[in-house]
Symmetry: C2
Subunit: 268 residues, 2 copies
DNA sequence: TTGCTCCTCACGTCACGTGAGGTGGC
DNA sequence: TTGCTCCTCACGTCACGTGAGGTGGC
């Protein structure tokens, strides 16, 4: 017979742990003094306690362990559960490694004085239906404000006439053309059930995916530096963009200098 | 201005998360409607939210993030903290890997039908002062009960005369001798302040360390199979024993068949 | 009027650690 | 009588998830 303190000492667990296992019914003392509630354990209870400790080290929860021990699990079953757990463990291990790599990326970028890129966030993007108006251009050295003014005016005009309500803020997309030029695309999300026949406005579905994103604050004329930061981040993180960037005009109500725009690169 | 739902959507966090960040003061809404408590956010708050998300992904706690953001941390400081965190992450990663290896060991042993070894536990052993009586033998093919009866009778007799109280159960140790024979050692823990002058009883300090342990239930005559299980476990786990085994007679009061003994191998 | 969005509690999570406040035997 | 061991609550941990129960505007 061991009092709880000595039993804890030989088993190298805390007294609190033994009390906890009593509470949850995982390991009841061999005897409890009815007068003062003192718990007493037998040496013969050590194999059970050790089994608990081993299973815990293997990553099972106390609830799982309770079930396993109560059910008098066979070696074969244990083997199966262990293999399952190992698969889980491998996954969390891979995630940990990813995180470590992520930290290393950020450290490198910080050392390169590109502090801005320290708020690049990768997030899922949902599939959505958009309405868009396209205009080709000879590259990125163009008068963006003028072009997009035209695009959005056409887009919102036609949507209004067709009684289709835009969802959320306007988007800018860019597309490669067969003739080597670039498509400037003004777009906005619409209801997936909406449809429209128009010469200028095209309805299209964007697929779901992952994107590296960065919030650009202020006038779009200073946008290139934000794009650069995003691109540097992707390079350092070993991510590859799928196509050109996207712009989401989260706040374009006030003065151009106080606009807030999310830049996105869809990742492969 | 975004209502909490749309702000959550663009930032890809849950509404609950935004409320939580408000509660802990990490990200207060730009405006709260005094009438109904509705929270409203501005696009310009996204950079802060993204910084929070990034720092969280890097493994900082919300409390740490709060401090970092409030203090307007410099890139250099961030770099330092990141490196610290990376060291931590590397350690937990190594532990995860150890666990995975451990699982693989157990899986192998289970497949080899050595289910018994599935309750081998590695635990720290404390440094302790012991009193011991030694008798050489020609190997392990001897009459253990008789020898140890002699050893313990001498040991407890002398301790009693010297008024030294034994602490805990009796131990059996084994030692290599220069002449190729084996020392059979009966021992017991005593107070670290205790001392004794005797021809037969020697006081000695055992160092702290780690040991692989297994509980043997029943008569010591069936002990070899438990020792074998322990040794198989060590081999599979890539651990090396430092010297012979130790035995701790946790319960040797009743019939020999109901004894409970802990077998230990100190690990290098 | 029916949905939809928003609100505020408040419990639950996982396995104990850590006091607080009190008791019984050497 | 002073330590020591034991006891039972009960809060705290970490970052929210998940109802419960209720309200205000299209």
């Amino acid at each position: 017979m061991f009092a709880i303190g000595s039993f804890a000492q030989v088993a190298k667990v805390s007294v609190r742990t033994l009390r906890h296992y009593d509470d949850v019914g995982l390991l009841r003392p061999a005897r409890v003094d009815p007068a003062n509630g003192y718990r007493f354990y037998e040496a013969a209870q050590l194999p059970r306690l050790n089994r608990i400790i081993v299973l815990k080290e293997l990553g099972f929860t106390l609830a799982e362990i309770t079930r396993m021990i109560e059910a008098g699990i066979s070696p074969d079953e244990l083997l199966g559960m262990l293999k399952l757990r190992r698969t889980e463990a491998e996954r969390t291990l891979a995630m940990e490694q990813q995180r470590l790599a992520d930290m290393t990326t950020r450290i490198q970028l910080l050392q390169g004085e590109r502090a801005m890129s320290s708020s690049v966030v990768v997030k899922p993007i949902d599939a959505m239906r958009i309405a868009q108006v396209t205009e080709p251009a000879d590259g990125f050295n163009v008068d963006f404000p003028m072009i997009f003014e035209r695009l959005y005016s056409t887009l919102y005009g036609e949507l209004g006439r067709a009684r289709i309500a835009p969802i959320g803020p306007p988007l800018a997309l860019y597309g490669e053309r067969a003739d080597g030029r670039v498509d400037m695309i003004g777009a906005v999300q619409i209801d997936p059930d909406a449809d429209l026949a128009s010469d200028s406005v095209v309805i299209r579905d964007l697929p779901a995916g992952r994107a590296a994103t960065l919030i650009h604050e202020g006038n779009m004329s200073t946008c290139p530096s934000s794009y650069q930061a995003l691109q540097q981040w992707m390079e350092a993180a070993g991510e590859e963009p799928d196509g050109y960037g996207r712009e989401i005009y989260l706040d374009c109500d006030g003065h151009r200098d106080s606009w807030v725009t999310e830049l996105q690169f869809v990742l492969k």
